[in-house]
Amino acid sequence: MGSHGIRDRVAIVGMGCTPFGEQWNKGTDDLIVDSTEATFAATGITKDEVDAFWVGTAMSGASGMMLARPMQLHDKPVTHVENFCATASEALRNAAYAVASGAYDVAMAVGVEKVKDSGYQGLVGAGKTPTDGTGRTLTAAAMFAMCSPGYGKKYGLDEAQMREVLARIAWKNHYNGARNPRAQFRKEVSMETICNAPLMAGGLGVYDCSGVADGSAAAIIVRAEDAHKYTDTPLYIKALSLVAGNCSGNADPDYDYTTFPEIAATGRDAYAQAGITNPREQLAMAEVHDCFTPAELLIYEDLQFAERGTAWKEVLDGTFDLEGALPVNPDGGLKSFGHPVGASGLRMVFEAWLQLRGEAPAERTIKHADRGLALTHNLGGYPGEMVSFVSILGTELG
């Protein structure tokens, strides 16, 4: 028994990512074709050379045929995966394991979501499972909103201080997103505007919530020893960690909404797989699941970027800014890049792909790309009951 990981056994050799946003003129099929064709074009690999496919979507389709039909795949194995907002990471994870197992030489992971066809703002749940009507009806925004008073109470921050800290996170992600041509929101937003935005749930305003967007991203995975056949600059998978929570947090009187145990567990597991002992010093950058600003604040501590109770100070000090000691969400994050549920996990990997290989636009290039390691963190669910995923990617073997 043990989580051994597949460090350095597989590599990403090509990626594609569509712009994220309200794409009224594109359907799910269009988004799939756009991200996969971009990936093929970047690598020179053809669809017939890919041996197996994994497609992630949370609410825009079902079965492997949702990919085989628009891409016109002939006699290929295609698996549909879903794991809430961590769906695209799940596609990557399964494709990577399939190659590591030796079952296939070349695998493709695709994440896609078309959320703007529902006629409603925000996400409308995919679940159509018949129920007894007793389930909680609270939105994710309201659930994550409880982390703010929880954190403030524990570490002695009043409402105004918490407001400033959370706004600073949104401000940073908008700053970064303004430098990203693929992002949904490409404008910097002032602290004042963020703090005075209309309230959505609890103390969270509009700018504390991620953008709701359509989009797709894709990656091709091969064995590490084959990587240089396709590119001079592959990204090696150092760690993949996933935890599906047992949903006990909201039933546990000791849970204080200042940590996400599932995230802390995936962080520890991923660092062990990758041999990372000091993530803050060793990582060049991180993409984390900033679905709501309090989530990003708590993630800093759960992933050991900051000591418990100190992340709020680090936020105000600019530690996680583009120019900071450890840039977090240099592409703008869910906040500014937008959040097509089943695509976001691969979008995070796409930013690591650009930054570590020196392909990010100059205006948002991170300082420490030479550290050669990036982390992506993707979650699905709510405080107390979530799926968490962490990957670590590196430019070098060993």
Binding site: K128, D132, T134, G150, A201
Partner: protein, 468 residues
């Protein structure tokens, strides 16, 4: 001895200031307030609340053999509403549950039938009254419920012995409404007044004669009926002492129709002394007179929550909100998809949880699981849980949040993470609160409510409300 073992009256938390009606429309309304059922209440949920109060005031062992539910404004036709009340009260499956349907008179009929039977009967009555904006009914009526546990003293101490009763009946068109309509219609007022007077006189005299009582011996007399002018006139002609006539709560609650007799009787019992004769006179397409005498047991009777305290603990709602809740004004719905109808088979499987708010507690670790679980989240024991009834357990708010974007028939939604007395936690929706009026550490209790209606199926479940 047979009579009433315990009683419970339920008055919803909200009040409409009648003066607001005339301020809005230039007519209608009047003085005082009327009670208003919340958007998530109906006659079934109000009946449950009254029945819970009645049963919590009853001695252990005084459990109903049967439950009779009566309302003129049922949540369902065809489907038995009493079964929902039965489930929420967690009565045994061998206890019957029957609706007494339709007419305003059915409630006093159910009560009289219970008094005349030999079983332990829980009589539950509820009504939600109103009318078109500016109508007399809109202002004068109210919403509420009353429940009476009727039985022999072998089941438990009887606090009010039944001395007998009399009824008179005559066919006349005085007040009417066809099924599905929210508006009652009435004939010219004088007609009813003239019709009711002799019917009441006849029943009154017959009841007193059979019980060998004279009017001066009646300590408290409750006169109620939707024809308020007739009821007022009758009250002065019964020959009882002037101070015997009890306050019909029309200034604060309003007339709760088919629930009003039981509500006022519960109210009167809460302040009665031993040895007092109480007369209940109901005007509804005839007249019914029921006579009771309080016993020594009433000295020890401690109602869980009196009608008077519920009248005192109330909060106003605006007339606009009232019209929206009643469907008299059609308001813009939240821009979220409406919920799907609930599944009958899932709801059937989870009856104890959904209707009874029963979780499970791990016999080994003591951990509470809501909804009930098979494998414990602490210790991982399998299928070793006992039922954990939580409907009557209070809790403390650990964290709370206001959700302005979730679907609700009356946004915003207020949710709290509640730590239960005795251990365990669950996030629950709050009701009967104004957003921003709560804080961490506040105390809450559970109440049975209707979350939404989809495909004409009502989705009943439990919410929390502040302990007041």
């Amino acid at each position: 001895m047979r009579g009433i073992i315990s009683a419970g009256g339920y008055v919803p938390y909200r009040r409409l200031q009648r003066a607001e009606i005339a301020k809005t429309f230039g007519s209608g309304g009047g003085k005082g307030t009327r009670s208003v059922a919340s958007y998530d209440e109906d006659t079934t949920t109000m009946g449950v609340e009254a029945a819970r109060l009645a049963l919590s005031g009853a001695p252990a062992g005084a459990t109903p053999d049967t439950l009779w539910f009566s309302t003129a404004t049922p949540a369902y036709a065809d489907k038995n509403n009493a079964s929902t009340v039965h489930a929420a009260l967690r009565l045994d499956s061998d206890a019957g549950a029957f609706d007494f349907g339709g007419a305003l008179r059915s409630s006093v009929g159910a009560l009289r039938a219970a008094l005349d039977s030999s079983n332990t009967v829980l009589v539950v009555t509820a009504d939600q009254r109103g009318g078109l904006p500016t109508s007399a009914d809109e202002a004068a009526t109210g919403d509420g419920a009353g429940a009476l546990l009727v039985g022999n003293d072998t089941a438990g101490p009887v606090i009010a012995e039944y001395l007998g009763g009399a009824s008179t009946t005559e066919e006349f068109i005085e007040r009417w409404r066809t099924p599905g309509s929210t508006r009652s219609r009435a004939w010219e007022e004088r007609f009813g007044e003239v019709k009711y007077a002799p019917l009441v006189e006849q029943a009154w005299n017959a009841a007193l004669k059979a019980a060998e009582l004279s009017p001066e011996q009646i300590a408290r007399v409750i006169v109620t009926g939707m024809h308020s002018r007739a009821a007022r006139a009758v009250g002065t002609r019964l020959g009882t002492a002037k101070e015997a006539l009890v306050d019909d709560r029309s200034a604060t609650v309003g007339n709760t129709g088919s629930a009003h007799a039981a509500l006022l009787l519960a109210d009167a019992l809460e302040s009665a002394a031993p040895g007092q004769v109480i007369a209940l006179v109901v005007l509804a397409d005839g007249a019914d007179v029921l006579l009771f005498r309080t016993t020594d047991a009433i000295s020890a009777y401690k109602p869980a929550r009196t009608v008077a305290s519920q009248i005192a603990n109330a909060a106003d709602i605006s007339y606009g909100k009232f019209l929206g809740w009643r469907g008299e004004a059609k308001l813009e719905p939240p821009r979220r998809p409406e919920p799907d109808r609930i599944s009958a088979s899932v709801s059937g499987r989870t009856e104890d949880w959904k209707y009874g708010f029963v979780g499970s507690r791990d016999r080994n670790s003591g951990e509470l699981h809501m909804p009930p679980a098979r494998i414990s989240r602490v210790g991982d024991t399998v299928d070793d849980m006992q039922p954990a009834p939580m409907a009557d357990v209070q809790g403390t708010i650990a964290l709370l949040t206001i959700d302005r974007i979730a679907y609700s028939p009356s946004p915003p939604t207020v949710f709290a993470v509640v730590d239960w007395d005795g251990g365990g936690r669950l996030p629950v929706e709050l009701t009967d609160v104004d957003a921003d009026s709560l804080k961490m550490g506040d105390r809450v209790e559970m109440t049975f409510r209707k979350l939404f209606t989809s495909d004409e199926i009502h989705n009943y479940f439990w919410k929390a409300r502040p302990v007041r």
